[in-house]
Symmetry: C2
Subunit: 221 residues, 2 copies
Amino acid sequence: VISFENVTKVYPLPAGDVVALAGVDLAIEEGEFVLIMGPSGSGKSTLLNIMGSLDVPTSGEVMIAEKRIGGMDDDDLTLLRRDHIGFVFQQFNLIPLLSVVENVEYPLILKGRQNGTRERAEEVLQAVGIEKTHFTHKPGELSGGQQQRVAIARALVNDPAFLLCDEPTGNLDSKTGTAIMTLLDRMNREEGKTVVMVTHDPRMTEYADRTIRLVDGRVEE
Amino acid sequence: VISFENVTKVYPLPAGDVVALAGVDLAIEEGEFVLIMGPSGSGKSTLLNIMGSLDVPTSGEVMIAEKRIGGMDDDDLTLLRRDHIGFVFQQFNLIPLLSVVENVEYPLILKGRQNGTRERAEEVLQAVGIEKTHFTHKPGELSGGQQQRVAIARALVNDPAFLLCDEPTGNLDSKTGTAIMTLLDRMNREEGKTVVMVTHDPRMTEYADRTIRLVDGRVEE
Ligand SMILES: Nc1ncnc2c1ncn2[C@@H]1O[C@H](COP(=O)(O)OP(=O)(O)OP(=O)(O)O)[C@@H](O)[C@H]1O
Ligand SMILES: Nc1ncnc2c1ncn2[C@@H]1O[C@H](COP(=O)(O)OP(=O)(O)OP(=O)(O)O)[C@@H](O)[C@H]1O
Ligand SMILES: [Mg+2]
Ligand SMILES: [Mg+2]
């Protein structure tokens, strides 16, 4: 349900082009839980961003749920993201001026939901272990791990078919990290969601069906 | 050389005060390598920020290198930080408009150095494994792990007596993380620097002299 065919991504910079992805081929089946691993700078976030239609490849073909990413305009890309993909960013990307619960409500509001947005947001926040006492905090009034979990809640709130997670447990202690993985594992096994996760933690392999390894912008054989 | 006596930190918020540290006592000897561990939200970053004179306690006494933190004005706090403490932030805090090498040069310039700033910055960047080809990149043109290592380089560039690191390897793959830890370990063992590191990774205990564990804002006995 996700495929990359000979995908290359080049960042053009004055000092010289950076080839972040070099002819990547991959295929992910519906309902799979796949890890992406590799050294720092090997292209993992770049790959996930293209997969999540946040960026487009320089060349090559990307298909998400039967749709070619390269052939879509910005409005169509936005709808695909909004309706089908939950994304957990490496740097969280929470909105500083919104409270915790408003950050998580936001995707619901974007999708046009008019009722029960507050309740749904609170439900998902509790599922990721954020206490009610923190719901009115701004992101700057949270710990690193708390911010990370709010970002995860925001990715889950629209009940997306695809979950793309860029190092979702990097700032979490072991117990909290395990709680998050258990949640994602259940969503994969019981609800059939497709999960693609970038991680540096080899302990995560026990949750996944398989691991794709990137090195210097290429899938390692 | 670092001591906390009955240190409390309260964040006053409209919804209710948050007690991030509750009567913390600790002492760190010169030349020690100490880990701070604990669950998400337990007060680790708060403790490290106070230790690094980036914040002051609500109550209690903090001494860094014979100086009371609570009794200092902002100018004195800034000088203590600038001259003695290297800090690696959990969220990196790189300056978006400066290039990699300018970010690392910046503490040297703040300290009044006039010659050799570029060379020193490049030396330290290479020590943390950032390649020359990335020196002109802006932080937004780097991977997460590359940003983290630039932040580490910036903390090291003034050759500080104290290194305070808030999860310095969270975004790094195992090999890169080990390279960073080897560097910090050498600075501790061979140059006598005092290192205090927050981490979630139990593998880090092999580098440290001891571990302080925080739970709900208190040092666990
Ligand atoms: N600026 C702030 N304003 C209000 N509350 C804050 C602020 N910073 C932190 N807190 C709260 O204080 C508590 C301790 O936060 P701290 O960042 O020290 O935790 P931490 O141990 O570093 O957690 P993590 O492992 O998730 O980074 C948390 O409950 C957090 O929500
Ligand atoms: N916006 C950008 N502009 C220019 N170069 C970029 C940009 N983003 C990433 N790069 C470069 O592309 C390469 C791949 O970056 P990417 O963020 O995909 O790596 P990563 O595997 O996620 O690394 P990490 O594990 O450190 O997060 C790196 O060399 C990086 O410096
Ligand atoms: Mg990345
Ligand atoms: Mg923290």
